[in-house]
Symmetry: none
Subunit: 518 residues, 2 copies
């Protein structure tokens, strides 16, 4: 049994370009819990106001099934008292059962960065752990720069591990903070540490600067650690942290280590992609296990042999991680997934309709749609496959403009022409931007017939360009979320023109809203 | 001493999205030679007409300093004669000194894919090697699916290695073709093979399906192989081949293995990026060693310590691989980060100016800007703080519209009014979307005064809504990347209106472009 400790929300957000709102952090936490990780490090309360707010809201709003939330912080400062350290107070106020503190374990850092004595370096660890234990907390200690420290000064590195453990730290996590380690060194150092401090339960935390973060983590497990730290999709500073989307299937499917139940692992690809959407970074198609090309076979040489004997060409069955073999065009879920999802939405389908839906989904995904992230759009696909047509409105045309005037004022205005219950309605609205103007114009056109449309709210809006090599001329994907105040649904639009892609998602969102409200 | 065998031009091109012309393949070969690899696998003559042409032209046009060109092919077919095999004839006609042939070493593949007997499987290897040796060629044998084969049927796998070696193969390369291996298994299998066939000189060829291609290659070297196969930037089918841009510095700088001279390694980052340009795939900024973020430091936390003791925070000196330390400016940054970053850009600042810049950055970040992701915008902030104003153009107004007509056609058009060197210019352009139209209109307005503006290209465009709770009425952040074909820079725009936010980023991007070009 190895514990999975996710630090996407703390170390992962150190990656350039990632900046999550509190709302988004909460959504990531829910997905991590669904995946089945044991610990979710939520942030550094006190150091970042956003993280303080995250823990406050998490306590009220999150109902985690599997995971324990962890607040991250540092040891007390040099030559101060733990009890009066405001940072440690903020940590306690996050009100988590578990607190993880980072401690310097490379003597060079103690003398050169902290500029204090080695004895004081150890005292900082002992005092902090003791203080938090006395406050009733479970304590983990991240031994920062452990492997560099162990290489240059093993006595000091081991002193820190011993001090943490003896003060009551439940786990001491050996960190390859600069990420330069190789598996052979990691193996040796972990085994030696385990032998020197047999009472400590160790963990491993690696970065990918030598391209070996995953292998280093596996080396740690083979050498006896009980906890693995990493980030979804390998996010993290510089070259990233150990990628849990690779480490976990390696552990579970290859090394036979108990870490996350196999049935949860089948959600891995979906959760990896949903989190990629939240951080708004395109996932590398060549990502092991979860990439769209991870089980893609270029046609030619072995296509027919592959059809006969798939296990001769694939290192695992892709279904085990929720991914699929892909031959030429993108394939998504099987028919049973479609049936299951439709049933989830209260729709019963025959086999033929399910097959038609599957074909539509495949076609849309090949064009850049991501139906999994848009339950509203999927519901409409299912309804349309049964011959249904939305009865609320029919678009004739729209026109949206944005103007920046000579005085610097920016205005957006949309005019829409729609047919509502046989009547032609023309409506014009201004907005903060073109999509907001278009959304308002549509509601305005519908309001006299369907007054409830005023209850609908756009609650999220995300844009991604799908072929960045073509710049703004590439295809644009818009994901949006709408709510009627009680429930929320997602829709998606894809088009060269961002306004048309947005229109498609807004129109579908409003249709779902009217279905819910009427 | 370990030989580096590059297969970017053969296995690397199996990656989805890579398709090189003969001209481009020749350019890649020149770059690989400059890097100092020992062997360049150029392709499969006979199987692909383009590869046949490559070898014909390479013989006439390439004057390689370090590398030996290798033609790749297969063993003879089952139940045929090597001398009359047209594929082997085409291989000979490529006229290389070295030929590498692929041979099945997993019994399951012999019986299930080739559908022949195991004895015939071995005879195919022996006959082909013997034939090519008699033709005066040096022969390498890629033992395909070796590690899966060794796991399930070690006797047959070893028989193939022995047969190849005894027939005169100079190298037998053990291939993890399905890419599912882990370092511990690779170590064991290589060591056992070396013990069982002590006269064979072994190589290793891995894929990244378990996220361990690099570590598996290193495990092979530690177990005694003399040749490493891989691809630049880890290109290759599915999750890619072992990444030579990571393996080589790991070997040379960390394991002290002689592979490529250290002075050539300083060209690694440049060559990696030049080849990425040739295959037209944006290189992952988080790529180990060669990525633009591989030595990027965020967090105000350790910035001042970093300036003092760089070796405490970097696993190697980035100059050893031709990369550089990069300070990432963000709200957490301190004054030393700003000064360091400005110095990187060749700008010397006094303390007061640095403080003013820091205040500007913090203010912008509080409004939703993310300066760390936009080096171009930061450069303009720094320049403006010194009193500079961009001399290229002044906006009077713009107007952009998108229309969806009754026939379903979607059109976008932008009109811009700017003052360029004292002259008022009005330009109108259509585009695939509103931002594309606006970008085109600006370039058109500038083109007669600054013809080089045509060289600029938008290479990435990302949009994020910052307060999703407000839906499309929230603030929109646009990040874009622009390139002049040689270098790239990022700019950022934030506004309620997505068009205005995009305009801001486009305008700043063009200003930086003109600074670079003029």
């Amino acid at each position: 049994m190895v514990e999975i400790y996710d630090t996407t929300l703390r170390d992962g957000t150190q990656r350039e370009g990632i900046s999550l709102t509190v709302e988004e952090k909460l959504k990531v936490a829910v997905l991590l819990d669904e995946l089945g990780v044991h610990y979710i490090e939520g942030g550094w309360p006190g150091a970042l106001p956003k993280d303080t707010e995250f823990f406050a809201r998490a306590e009220k709003e999150l109902d985690l099934e599997n995971a324990t939330l962890v607040a991250f912080g540092s040891t007390r400062r040099a030559d101060t008292d733990a009890a009066s350290d405001p940072q440690l107070q903020a940590l306690l106020e996050a009100n988590t059962d578990v607190i993880c503190i980072v401690a310097k374990s490379w003597d060079y850092h103690v003398t050169e960065a902290l500029r204090t004595s080695l004895d004081e370096g150890v005292a900082m660890v002992t005092d902090t752990v003791t203080f938090l234990r006395n406050e009733g907390k479970r304590v983990f200690v991240d031994a920062e720069h452990y492997f560099d420290g162990y290489k240059q000064s093993p006595e000091y590195a081991l002193r820190v591990v011993r001090a943490a453990s003896e003060a009551g730290a439940e786990r001491v996590i050996l960190c390859d903070t600069n990420g330069g380690g190789l598996p052979s060194e990691i193996s040796t150092a972990v085994a030696a540490t385990k032998a020197a401090v047999p009472n400590a339960d160790l963990g491993i935390h690696t970065h990918n600067d030598s391209g070996c973060a995953v292998a280093n983590t596996l080396a740690g497990v083979r050498a006896g650690v009980v906890q693995v730290q990493g980030c979804v999709n390998g996010y993290g500073e510089r070259t990233g942290n150990a990628d849990l989307c690779t480490v976990v299937p390696d552990l579970v499917l290859k090394l036979g280590v108990e870490a996350i139940p196999k049935e949860r692992l089948t959600r891995l690809t979906t959760i990896s992609h949903l989190i990629a959407d939240l951080v708004n970074i395109t996932i590398d198609p060549h990502h092991p296990y979860v990439g769209t090309s991870a089980f893609a076979h270029k046609a030619g040489l072995h296509t027919s042999a592959l059809a006969r004997r798939r296990d001769a060409y694939e290192h695992i069955s892709p279904a085990e991680v929720g991914n699929t073999t892909r031959m030429v065009v993108s394939e998504m879920a099987g028919r049973s997934t479609v049936l299951g999802k439709a049933r989830e939405q209260g729709l019963d389908l025959d086999d033929e309709t399910a097959a038609a839906i599957l074909a539509t989904v495949k076609d849309l995904e090949a064009r850049g749609y991501q139906i999994e992230a848009a339950d509203g759009t999927f519901e409409l696909i299912v309804r349309r496959a049964t011959g249904w047509e939305q009865p609320f409105f029919e678009l004739e045309s729209y026109r949206v403009f944005t103007e920046r005037r000579a005085d610097g004022q920016v205005v957006a205005e949309a005019t829409i022409k729609v047919h509502v219950k046989g009547e032609r309605v023309v409506a014009t609205a201004e907005g903060d931007g073109p999509v907001n103007a278009l959304d308002r114009a549509l509601r305005q056109a519908l309001a006299s017939t369907f007054p409830d449309v005023e209850l609908l709210r756009l609650t999220d809006y995300r844009v991604r360009v799908l072929d960045p090599a073509a710049g703004t001329a590439a295809v644009t994907r818009v994901l949006l979320e709408m709510s009627d105040g009680k429930q929320a649904w997602g829709t998606i639009g894809v088009h060269e023109n961002i306004i048309e892609a947005s229109w498609e998602a807004v129109a579908d969102g409003v249709v779902i809203g009217l279905l819910r409200l009427i």
